[in-house]
Symmetry: C3
């Protein structure tokens, strides 16, 4: 199957879901949907960038682990921040997450997000091979 | 040819064009340029998100068909909305488009678009194999 | 090594750096981080879109050359402009850069950038093969 959904839509606490696959494999790459700082109950981990950045990275890391992947397999990141003033604080948390692992290529831009409580959305692209 | 333009710049009604290829193939992937809700005469399909979302998806679908591809070959989507308030209405149209086909991984963010009449821009990445 | 950092973080004049790799190779693709109009001393090339667009493209071209690649190997571009009013002027410079080379697929959106002096950020994806 050339385009293989690995993880489907994540149901929200109210039972609805967004029409997207959380992870899709094609050509050896694993495309992850943009993730936010949600806790399992659908609320946000916090209202500050440090807490939201840490939770978002935890959420993505759990997805990577579920797929048998790790941060070392991530080749590209796109980071959306609602406020450029949060850039330095975000980078601190992001640097801690990658630690000694070479970080992926990245673009970071300032955007509105679809949920007014979200301060950050992160999209990772991983390479798993064929 | 490692990077192969499949469809060149789309001429606009005034005869000018934007310096981009509408579709480029590389490594088995087909990269589509971001598309808007244009009608063949260069005007917009409507001024509401439902009409623009439907037209944008029709336009992209025509491009996929022109390339011998379909929605099932799309592995990743990036959706740019000018107003996060349009998210729910957009998702409804988007869900109808994919129907029973597993939707691609996706990120959706709020951005300004290059044309003041545009409410939505959608970029699809497809996998065609080698 | 499935995900191979080709160029690490670029140190800034103050000795700090952003946690990202300037270029990462995976699956034959070379992912470049978003680039700005920086001069070697860390300042910006100018305060107008023409100068910044030209410098940003020069910076990316230098990265491509360092990797043994050229504009003909670029399959996808994402362009972030802080002001949609700069679209036409940007396209003029961008068209000059690509000249007779078929331009990559592209999306262009309006975003805030992480540096208040930046008017443009460009991300290129190249294909180098295996």
């Amino acid at each position: 199957m050339p385009v293989e959904p690995l993880i489907g839509p994540k149901p929200r606490p109210d039972g609805t879901s967004i029409p997207l696959s959380a992870a899709v494999k094609a050509g050896g790459f694993v495309f992850l949907s943009g993730q936010l700082a949600h806790l399992p109950d659908g609320s946000y981990a916090g209202t500050d960038i440090e807490t939201q950045a840490r939770q978002t990275l935890e959420n993505i890391d759990a997805t990577l682990q579920q797929l048998g992947l790790s941060k070392a397999d991530v080749c590209k990141a796109t980071v959306y921040l609602t406020d450029p003033k949060n850039f330095a604080a975000f980078n601190k948390i992001y640097r801690e997450y990658f630690g000694d692992t070479p970080p992926p290529a990245r673009s970071t831009v300032g955007c509105a997000l679809m949920d007014p409580d979200a301060l950050i959305e992160i999209e990772f692209l991983a390479y798993a091979g064929n």
